[in-house]
Symmetry: none
DNA sequence: TATGAATGAGTCTTCATTCAT
DNA sequence: AATGAATGAAGACTCATTCAT
């Protein structure tokens, strides 16, 4: 009974905290860390300024929790690649799939990427986050490929290059929309490049 | 007479302004826009805080002038590729040359890139700068390749992809130094990828 | 019936209130009034923050009740002098006894004295408390002396001076521990001074 | 000429800083450290809040400078005893003189003493200040007495006790004004006590 | 032109107190 | 009676910009 009564309290508290993280991270991604103040975050989360500091050490902490929570789908969407959707036999569609989900997952903010990567060098915690997840992602994908029959053959380096290719492509598609660029063609070329990249690793 | 007297003054004034731009841009690249204040900039430039506002509308203006002045060598070093150093016959070494100078030019600050790209979306002027120069760079390189006998054949897209490959490589080399990455191999692979990328455009 | 049920509750309530007073007073004495917050007090007392305001008007009220309850043994230990331990025939040892217990009673916190006396002038209630008890103490000791055969002879003033002498001595011993001071000698001298002070009042 | 123009600037700056120190110290002494905010201090000093932080590291710094500047006349007025006014032959009047000036010098605030001594234990800098000056004062007076022919004979301890006696007396006279206390008598008794205290040290 | 002192709005953060449960 | 989450006013401090000289 005690539990039943407490449960919603706790649930609401968690929801509240989540709201703060979400609002904070969204605002920071949209307007920048220094252009977002705690009052705005609190207001967007529909809480008082005071409560923010009951859940978070400081403004930076809000951001870090947001990064931990939402960062992966923005920066490391490939971490969530479903192994079952990956097929060596249909490399093209696998990569296309990755690109699609990559693009789809850019939800929180179009600006997140630049805003946050800019903090890598000023902010040790952010740097650590990226370093950690970059390694993880490379490792994850490498293992995925090996499971799919790829040979170790400068695989680490190639995976890194592939990630860069995909990142750049998605980035271009999502953000820039240069008028003179044909994105379907570009996608095709990138996929072809990736295939070439790994040509010595499978068959 | 007025001119004669003013001339040296003006020369000094120009030098002074340049000093502010340089100091401001360097500090902002090193420590970030919001972690750099005008007092620091003035001090680093060896001028008074007041004078800054005689030469610049505001802090942001200092940064923009710095970006215009020094941005290219940081963000678009390929704009400065010497056409004479580029050879279709020795594609590898040409690209290697580009990478080398790319890396070398990251002088003002290792942090400049992230710091500043983060401002693209919060700052229309910065965005414009990048948009403008990205197009210019793609165009420049494309023309360079055409001059070197390359065929138009999704060349715009390919150039863009190539720039991304090189950027990522340099970035990786300059910033991350992941222990498990062999950068010489990586460079070789990237060059090979670029060659493959353009294989239908030349010969 | 109501009473029977409430009784234990009330007992607990009283204990709870006492715990708040004790914790609050101790913390304030140790860390200062402004460096102690109600959350800490509640936590130390093992109660919720809300309940504090059911027992006390405000934070200041907690402190005042603590002062009333524990203040005497810190600030006016001489109020508790046991008349049976006081002897005109062995003045020295009587005073030595007072000093000993004076020092011993500085238990709640070495800092209490300064912290709280500082509030005398900012806080009318605290001022009233001290004024009231200072008079009481002087009066009490005066009466004690008269009961022990001392003659009225500027006795009020002398008692006040004596209290000051003892206070300073104890204070010095408790807090400062100046290296160059011999506290045994000092005690002897103070006792001799007190004897001299009262030499016209007894014999 | 440059100097002539600069001089007043600098003079005003110094005056401004002094005004902040004075206002800050007065307000803190009157209302307490925690009941005084920087805005009030700035307003009292007739400056903006911002300028305060050009002259001082923080609020505490204002206070410390005030303490260094005005503290001695409040806490250690005897440091300023004029040797020529001190005479072994007329001990009474010498001490009376000290008491008089002691009382006269309590200008900044009646509350200063308690407010500030309360900070001794919470504040290392304040503690250091007091420790340093207490030693200095004891030493100064000791030397003064020796110069006047006093013999070393527990002189350090006696000086300390004397200072306490005088402090308490002045304190009583200045602050408490207990109705039942005759301060002239009290002064006489204190002086007599001091004479007794040193009776073995001179003649 | 040049200085650097001065301004004051804006920011993060704390905490006594209240209130929904 | 009890909890502890929530409030929001207040405070220390920063800094882009202005201004007296």
């Amino acid at each position: 009974m005690d539990d039943i009564i407490r449960e919603p309290k706790q649930k609401r508290a968690i929801e509240k905290k989540d709201r703060i993280i979400k609002s904070g991270f969204e605002l920071i991604c949209k307007n920048g860390y220094y252009n977002t103040n705690t009052a705005e975050i609190a207001k967007a989360a529909n809480v008082s300024t005071g409560i923010v500091y009951q859940y978070f050490k400081d403004k930076h902490d809000i951001f870090m929790e947001g990064l931990e929570k939402y960062g992966n789908e923005i920066f490391f969407p490939m971490l969530n690649i479903d192994i079952n959707n990956f097929s060596i036999d249909d490399f093209s569609s696998s990569i296309q799939e990755i690109i699609k989900s990559h693009i789809k997952d850019h939800k929180v903010s179009q600006r997140a990427h630049e805003e946050i990567t800019s903090m890598i060098h000023s902010d040790k915690e952010v740097a650590t986050y990226f370093y950690k997840n970059e390694l993880l992602m490379t490792k994850t994908i490498k293992e995925l490929l090996i499971k799919n029959g790829f040979k170790e053959n400068d695989l680490t380096e190639k995976v890194h290059i592939m990630i860069g290719l995909i990142d750049n492509l998605c980035h271009e598609i999502i953000y820039h929309k240069h008028d003179n660029m044909d994105y379907d063609k570009m996608t095709t070329i990138v996929i072809e490049s990736i295939k070439q990249l790994f040509k010595d690793n499978y068959q």
